[in-house]
């Protein structure tokens, strides 16, 4: 048997996964973006106020899109099946992570542009800050989901952390999610880094998990 020269057809794998494993979360994420303007003003906002819909609402798309990355293979039979194939599941997870994070970033950017069109004082930095929040919350969900092997449990910590941020406010320091409302941007760097770290940890643990069984 001859095997594919391109041994890992990334695009094809991404395409099929997008079609079969992502539509529900994408739909919920889009819905979230559409509902946001009904809950909070998204027009004529100065820079700090404009951070609010981005940080407090749109960033939640990260939770919606990233938390269920491992969900399809949490069915053990499917996991056994795809794991016995030549292409490693870890790479499939990486592909899903990349496109999910990409979609989250894209939605946030589109939302930011739409705010700009409604005369808000938004800047690319605001969008980046919201993306950092999204990655942080989403990777927190990914990590829990990997550790517990259960996606639903994965949704808990990010939502709880979100609630903590509403409750505790700036006391959370470098990991405070809503800092741009106060005009402070340094926390975003930490959130972004912590997000990447948790994402890597989640992917790594998921890879290990199977072998440790």
């Amino acid at each position: 048997m001859q095997f594919s020269k391109k041994r890992f057809p990334v695009l094809e794998i991404a395409k099929i996964n997008l079609r079969h494993n992502a539509p529900l979360s994408i739909a919920v994420a889009v819905l979230l973006c559409l509902v946001t303007p009904l809950l909070i003003g998204t027009a004529n906002l100065d820079r700090n106020s404009a951070a609010m819909p981005l940080e407090m609402f749109v960033s939640l798309v990260g939770v919606v899109l990233l938390t269920p990355i491992f969900q399809p293979e949490q069915n053990e039979e499917i996991d056994d099946l795809v794991s016995s194939k030549y292409c490693s599941t870890a790479k499939v997870h990486l592909i899903r992570t990349v496109y999910s994070a990409g979609i989250a970033a894209l939605l946030i950017c589109v939302f930011t542009v739409s705010m700009k069109l409604q005369s808000c004082d938004v800047t690319p930095v605001l969008a980046l800050g919201a993306i950092a929040d999204a990655l942080f919350l989403g990777s927190m969900g990914m990590l829990t989901s990997a550790l517990t092997g259960n996606t639903v449990i994965g949704y808990m910590p990010p939502l709880l952390y979100y609630a903590l941020n509403i409750g505790m406010g700036p006391k959370l320091g470098s990991l405070y999610l809503f800092s741009m409302v106060t005009g402070s941007y340094t926390a975003k760097l930490w959130l972004f880094l912590a997000g990447l770290l948790m994402m890597a940890a989640a992917l790594f643990y998921q890879r290990l998990r199977k072998r440790m069984a």
Partner: protein
């Protein structure tokens, strides 16, 4: 006993441990273990006792008008339709209507008001200090939000100098301001209920004393703290977390493929579903009851010689918090049974987020009929605001009974679904499955 078994099963599960951890962290962050820092003090004559809002027409009318004129001239209005800031910019025709309202209030000609407004260059927005709900709304250290609209910032250096016409009657003023609020889409400071924010008077010693005495006699002190605890616990944890328990444990049955097995066991669906529901509710309440007592006991020693109500936490746990747990658990069980998916997490999550954000505006007291988590936060002006609570007690009871009622109705529905699944009439997407299998059968037959 089955109930005990089910409770044990839940309590030993990993999701439950995460649940408990989340409850503890969530409540700790709200400061429920530091109630001894906030003590009720008997007012002494000659001190300052804080402020209260009152409908004083002479204060309210000029202050509200001043704000409205400023916002009008900038055509930039700040509103809080559901608790979040919204900056409203009116269309030309609506600005004209606003000018008419202003004309009604000031007695000046509409065109003159418009002209004057056009002559003023919109002032650059001043430095906003951070306030989570926008200007005027401040977050206190305990996660509550207070609105103080008495010290509004002036956004524009120049002011339009119009005064309320001399013969303006307060009722008419309120009516006009109400129209302005409607024009803005609601949620502005000019709403009929919000105007009172413009009238502030200092509390007298007698009033402060009366308030204190009421807290002692009606709340027996501990009741006030239990109420504060319920406020935090309801909004932070118990309106959202129980849904996770219900969904995760409901899905687990599917995951381990026990369904078929369970379905054939000879126990009535009604009984099994109800026992599971009961077990989930009890399991979720256990840590809450415990923590409510720990939190309450912190202050017991600080009130020597005063008769305390040692059962207060229990009363509030069952009266205030139990219905929240009931409804979120019921939604979790119902939607999981109905769809076989964790969609309940999204549904409850959205309702909760909506409710929390609604809470930002009405954190001091929110007892609306459809509130998921009623709010009664002490805020700055008094520790317990016992009178306020007593005034709204009827609303609270209605809300809580309604939530508990809906919860039980949902469980009833869950039982019906479960029952019909057992009989094989219903299963996830039963109709679809049936259709598929009937087509398949037909094909197979035609092949044969």
């Amino acid at each position: 006993m089955l109930l005990l078994q089910e409770i044990k099963k839940i309590v030993k599960s990993i999701p439950y441990m995460i649940f408990v951890a989340a409850v503890v962290i969530g409540l700790f962050s709200q400061g429920v273990f530091r109630f001894q820092d906030d003590l009720l003090e008997e007012p002494q004559p000659g001190g300052s006792y804080g402020y209260k809002h009152e409908e004083i027409a002479e204060q309210i009318m000029p202050a509200a008008l001043r704000d409205l004129l400023t916002e009008f001239s900038n055509n930039n209005y700040t509103t809080y339709p559901i608790g979040f800031i919204k900056h409203v910019k009116l269309s030309e025709s609506k600005q004209e209507k606003m000018a008419e309202i202003l004309s009604g209030i000031t007695g000046n000609d509409k065109d003159r008001i418009l002209q004057e407004a056009a002559g003023i260059t919109p002032g650059a927005s001043g430095n906003y200090t951070f306030q989570i709900g926008g200007d005027g709304m401040q977050q206190d250290g305990n996660g509550g939000f207070t609105i103080g609209s008495d010290e509004k910032q002036q956004n524009s250096p120049e002011k339009m100098a119009f005064a309320v016409r001399d013969d303006m009657d307060y009722a008419r003023f309120k009516e006009l301001m109400g129209q302005a609020d409607d024009l803005l889409g609601g949620g502005s400071n000019y709403a009929v209920d919000s105007l009172i924010g413009y009238g502030t008077v200092p509390l007298t010693y007698e009033e402060a004393k009366e308030r204190y005495d009421l807290a002692i006699s009606s709340d027996k002190v501990t009741g006030g703290y239990a109420r504060l605890f319920s406020d935090y616990a309801g909004v932070m944890v118990l309106s959202i977390l129980p849904v996770f328990l219900a969904v995760i444990l409901g899905m687990k049955d599917r995951r381990v493929k026990m369904e078929a097995l369970i379905y054939t066991k000879k126990i009535s669906a009604a009984k099994l579903t109800f026992i599971r529901y009961l077990a989930l509710v009890i399991a979720a309440m256990l840590p809450v009851i415990l923590i409510s007592y720990i939190s309450n006991m912190m202050v017991w020693s600080s009130y020597p010689g005063i008769q305390l109500d040692y059962l207060a936490p229990l009363k509030y746990d069952f009266g205030w918090l139990l219905p929240s747990v009931m409804i979120s658990t019921a939604i979790g069980m119902f939607l999981t049974e109905l769809t076989g998916t964790p969609i309940a997490v999204a549904v409850q999550g959205l309702w909760w987020m909506f409710d929390v954000n609604l809470g930002i505006k009405s954190v001091s007291s929110g007892y609306a009929l459809l509130r998921l988590a009623p709010r009664h936060n002490a805020g700055a002006d008094s520790l317990f605001r016992t009178q306020d609570y007593l005034d709204h007690f009827g609303d609270l009871v209605q809300n809580r009974l309604l939530m508990a009622g809906i919860a039980l109705a949902l469980i009833l529905l869950t039982i019906l679904i479960y029952e019909s699944k057992r009989k094989g009439k219903f299963g996830g997407n039963a109709i679809f499955k049936k259709a598929v299998s009937s087509i398949r059968d037909r094909k197979n037959k035609s092949q044969a």
